[in-house]
């Protein structure tokens, strides 16, 4: 331990579970020597709700409303992964249209999450204005979501084999309007923020993580891509229909908070590109694979055949999970969100392990804040982009 520069003893400060910014209930026990940080210890568990144990007693369709509460700002991703697990276990094909709708919803959700990262990040640094501006766009996204799913935030939209309801008439045009508007707004944010000298002073060179360290610590998402590693699960895993769109992985080299900011802003623009391509190319067809719950299955009937019989009123969808293990993952805006699912031959899963990106990304915080000033803790914490709902589950 180095000799304290200012005083004989070190001061221990508790940045308690309640925060003015939107990180959630995270407690940081910070050891300070004057303004320099010697050590910082995050204490978690204030929002632990037992999501994993609840999952062992609920069927998938009963569990879907719970999952949006893990990462409550990017809710479509949690639903997508809850539904992808059983789909892969049961080898269920998702119809093309449903896949496109899912991709559009996921990218909208990604934009929403990055917006609500940007606001509190800037508010932590000291700029209050973007915090209000992002809600303007987020309200537009909420309106779009409400038109489709019925709920602004905690949509219960994804189902095994597709989505719960089709897009309403006129939604595509509204969404295209939103995309065009959003590009102008992102340009506005960039004008306000990116070359702002105060912002650059606070953010440039703060919290640098090298490429090797990033992999060692298992970080993912924008933190990984800001340190020079072009790893994006949408490209690597070829899931949903992302291969059909023309988009690039956004990455930067420096690994400091500015790089993470730039990666997220560019990801928002890239998401708009994907949404525009998806909206223009969306095929017709069914929006849900009702095969999953049809009655009276004769072995050879085809999807669109007249002999194919299913009850038009949707029966209670019960889906038996076969006795296998599976790790399914998705590229959430915060990182790699994963579910390790062990099925029992029953409707309840035997083990549902949630791998939250925030939990892992937060581990690097004590190392990053050593020898930084007290004010840099909030910058670094903001640039890691955690949300306690998923960290604690």
């Amino acid at each position: 331990m180095t000799v304290p520069a200012t005083r004989k003893d070190l001061m221990i400060v508790n940045m308690g579970p309640h925060h003015p910014s939107m990180h959630g209930v995270l407690r940081l026990i910070v050891t300070l020597d004057g303004e320099d940080v010697i050590n910082c210890e995050p204490v978690l568990g204030y929002l632990h709700r037992g999501m994993e144990k609840i999952a062992e007693n609920r069927t998938i369709i009963q569990y879907l409303p719970y999952v949006t509460r893990w990462d409550y700002l990017a809710t479509m991703f949690t639903e997508a992964i809850t539904v992808n697990g059983p789909e892969q276990l049961g080898n269920i094909q998702v119809p093309k249209r449903a896949s496109y709708i899912r991709a559009i919803m996921l990218e909208l959700s990604r934009i929403a999450s990055h917006l609500l990262w940007l606001g509190p990040f800037m508010a932590d640094i000291g700029a209050q204005t973007p915090f209000f501006y992002i809600f303007r766009e987020r309200e537009l996204i909420y309106d779009l979501f409400e038109a489709v799913t019925g709920m602004r935030m905690m949509h219960n939209y994804f189902r095994i084999g597709g989505v719960a309801a089709d897009l309403p008439h006129g939604w595509i045009d509204k969404c295209l309007d939103f995309c065009n508007y959003f590009l102008t707004v992102v340009a506005e944010y960039q004008k306000l923020i990116t070359r702002n000298p105060i912002f650059l002073e606070r953010v440039e060179g703060v919290g640098i993580i090298g490429g090797e360290e990033v992999i060692n610590w298992g970080l993912s998402g924008p933190m990984l891509r800001a340190s020079g590693i072009q790893w994006d699960l949408r490209k690597v895993d070829h899931y949903e229909c992302y291969d059909e769109f023309d988009w690039e992985v956004q990455w930067q080299k420096e690994g400091d908070s500015l790089a993470r900011y730039l990666v997220r802003i560019n990801e928002m623009k890239e998401s708009i590109k994907i949404i525009q391509q998806a909206l223009e190319g969306i095929p017709g067809g069914p929006y849900e694979n009702l095969e999953v719950r049809r009655f009276d299955r004769t072995k050879d009937s085809e999807w669109n055949d007249f002999e194919y019989r299913f009850i038009s009123k949707k029966p209670s969808p019960t889906f038996e999970l076969s006795k296998q293990e599976l790790y399914v993952r998705v590229e959430a805006p915060k990182g790699e969100l994963g579910i390790f699912l062990i099925g029992d031959q029953s409707i309840f899963p035997w083990r549902w392990k949630i791998r939250p990106p925030g939990f892992i990304n937060l581990q690097i915080l004590p190392q990053l804040v050593k020898r930084m000033k007290l004010a840099d803790i909030m910058t670094i914490l903001g640039s890691i982009d955690i949300i306690m709902g998923e960290v604690d589950r």
Partner: protein, 202 residues
């Protein structure tokens, strides 16, 4: 330079390569069973060996599994060694994933994998907190998600979903107290398995 390497290797190595390669090269006492399925490859090992096996997987040139994605504990009360600790791993260089599983019972301790994978620190704390499987020489083994005075390990199958204590703020004592739980309604079990034919294949 580093990025060119990755692109080249994405072409020839595939998901099965790490699996087959590590089966052939690791000493047999480390890995006693390997299983391959379309949903992921797993290898089973003994409780003393996760550290060695994971170090091998991390450092060896042809496996290079550098990222520990997830460590979780699974409880199978019907087995003699009831817990299973699963390490999910990822190799970004070869784009492959592999799972390493160990069986333990309540008193066996597992070797920690914190030194090759620093991100495992919190995962092992969580495995300890939730299932009660501890690691030898772990640098910091405390509870992570449960409450400060919590007794028991929540993800074991014998702890009921509602737990044993409930907390409330007690006005005379001016603090939060824990009391044994009071269930005003019996546990609702929705067995929604349909009497019709189930979809169960895969």
């Amino acid at each position: 330079m580093k990025r060119n390497y990755k692109k080249a290797f994405f072409i020839f190595m595939d998901n099965q390569f790490i699996f087959k390669y590590s089966w052939k090269t690791t000493p047999k006492k480390w890995v006693h069973k390997m299983e391959r399925s379309e949903h992921g490859n797993r290898s089973d090992t003994n409780t003393d060996y996760p550290f060695q096996l994971l170090c091998f997987l991390k450092l060896h040139t042809y496996t290079r599994v550098q990222v520990s994605i997830d460590i979780c504990g699974v409880d199978h009360p019907s087995r003699k060694r009831r817990f299973e600790v699963v390490h999910n791993l990822l190799s970004t260089r070869y784009n492959s994933r592999i799972r390493v599983q160990t069986s333990a019972d309540e008193v066996t301790r597992i070797s920690p994998v914190v030194s090759p994978f620093p991100s495992a620190g919190r995962w092992e704390r969580e495995v300890w907190d939730m299932s009660g499987v501890s690691s030898i020489n772990h640098p910091d083994l405390r509870r992570i998600s449960t409450d400060y005075g919590f007794e028991g390990h929540p993800l074991r199958k014998d702890l009921p979903l509602s737990g044993y204590v409930e907390v409330r703020y007690d006005d005379p004592e001016k603090r939060v107290v824990s009391e044994p739980i009071e269930m005003t309604q019996e546990f609702r079990y929705f067995d929604s398995a349909s009497p019709w034919e189930q979809r169960s294949d895969g």
